[in-house]
Amino acid sequence: MTTHYLVLSALLFAIGAVGVLLRRNAIVVFMCVELMLNACNLAFVTFARQHGNLDGQLIAFFVMVVAAAEVVIGLAIIVMIFRTRRSASVDDANLLKY
């Protein structure tokens, strides 16, 4: 079974990598990176069971924390550039005033 799980994780990782190379929308690219991180986690959990120690599960937990922080920074940067480029500024949406 270990091999099955690992091949699945490799497949997901590769799909994520292709997505990063293919897509243009920064948010979608970032989602593909998240997919890659998830694939890594699956590999860690599988290896933890394979080796019979909990290190893998622990690392997967840390990866989730790191990914959460990375998402915050990444999305903040992406929102910043979106606002500049097409001025999707929430403050400009003042049509309902009158």
Binding site: L6, S9, F13, G16, A17, V20, A26, V29, F30, V33, M36, L37, A39, C40, A43, F44, T46, F47, Q50, H51, N53, D55, G56, L58, I59, F62, V63, V66, A69, E70, I73, G74, A76, I77, I78, M80, I81, R83, T84, S87, S89
Partner: protein
Amino acid sequence: MNGTTIPAPTIEYALLAPMLIVFGAAIVGVLVEAFFPRYLRKSVHVPLTLLALAGAFLMTVLQVVREGVPTTPSAMGAVAVDGPALFIWGLILVLAIVSTLLINDEDQFVAQAAAVPGSADEEEAVRSGYAQTEVYPLLLFSVGGMMLFPASNDLLIMFVALEVLSLPLYLLCGLARRRRLLSQEASVKYFLLGAFSSAFFLYGMALMYGYAGSLDLKAISAALGTVSGQNTLLLAGTAMLGVGLLFKLGAAPFQAWKPDVYQGAPTAVTALMASTVLVSAFGALLRVFWVALGNLDWDWRPVMWGVAILTMVVGAILAITQTDIKRMLAYSSIAHSGFILTGVIATGAFEQNQGALSAILFYLAAYGFTTVGAFAVVTMVRDAGGEAGHLSRWAGLGKRAPILAGIFAFFLLAFAGIPLTSGFFGKYAVFSAAVAGDALPLVVVGVVTSAIAAFFYVRVIVLMFFSEPAADGPTIATPTIGTSAVVALAAAATVVLGVFPQPVLDLAGEAASALFIR
């Protein structure tokens, strides 16, 4: 629950004090942001940052002088504070102090990052003299991560450190005051590519864990001799870890981000990245490839050969085609990481490793100071719209500002590795280590590419001194004390390391004497 108690972990606070001071000061900086009025913040942040970095440096020195270099890992085996790590800490801290002076010095940073460029809000913020003082805590967090990265003793903490050092840099890149769109673009590019590469690093970690059953560098090294039948796992893991680390160095097939990010980021941040991040990433690379995978060197060396050659060639040749001074320095930084990689490859017996390691450490010190100085000069040559990036604007600078142009020419000569500059001894040390490590072809490539790069540096010098200045040429900003100090310090370091390199060479040799602890 069976009521088991968890034994309290032991942490060597004194040993880790430099890092803890930096992180602690960063947190205090966040509190300063929260509780101090706007007009006071900068005058609190700057001394706090400088004091913390200086204090951390002092603690590093004290540790070496009073207790010597520890021989076992600390913090429950997570952190390895050994000779190379202490040397790298000291180097990073000094370079960070210098970069802080540069960051503090002028209005390099955006007045209000959340205001859309070109909007009325931004003008208003600039007029009211706002400043994004969060830069200082972010800098400290990043420096903390940079210290942890090369000192990590297992891959998990290395991954966390990689993120701690990267995330603040992604942010800092996007905060330039002028040409904000370029800056924001640099930030997005750096972030997306950085996240992509750290995913590779992580998958490499997973495969390593699958191979060895542990993430300790020592355990991985031990598993090389005992685990059999899983070599593909090991090789794939090594390759992917390598991708993650080589990306941070900007080594060649993964160099694409470097020119863009270096050009777009505020120049002070570029100076920080070009010096400290390179130092830190080389420390981590050495730790992974020498400590964990040292016995696998027959397998990774051929690939590293290719990477080193490609990096030197790409860095030197693409530098010729550049017309922007910051991009040119970025390519120069790529070429220099190639030169240092020749030292990484030169492994062998114990003495050979010692020699190579001390050469790498010396090279990092020499290059770090020179590059900070070069970027400091770049901040001073200004146009109406900010720094004069285009090379044509630098024509005739030698006639307008002979001293500044002379110093810049000196830095360029140091990059080229002309004798009597620090660059010469750096290159000499690394190349002679590589020759001793049977990597002669690599050294030949290194010398040839140095010559190519030297051609370009000389072209810039000729441009500065032997062409007529343009009528509407850039102005030279009157340097403030900080910038002058940075330039003077960098020039002094370049001269001293070029004329009396022996003390620093000895220090690097001392740091490398016991190699890495496991």
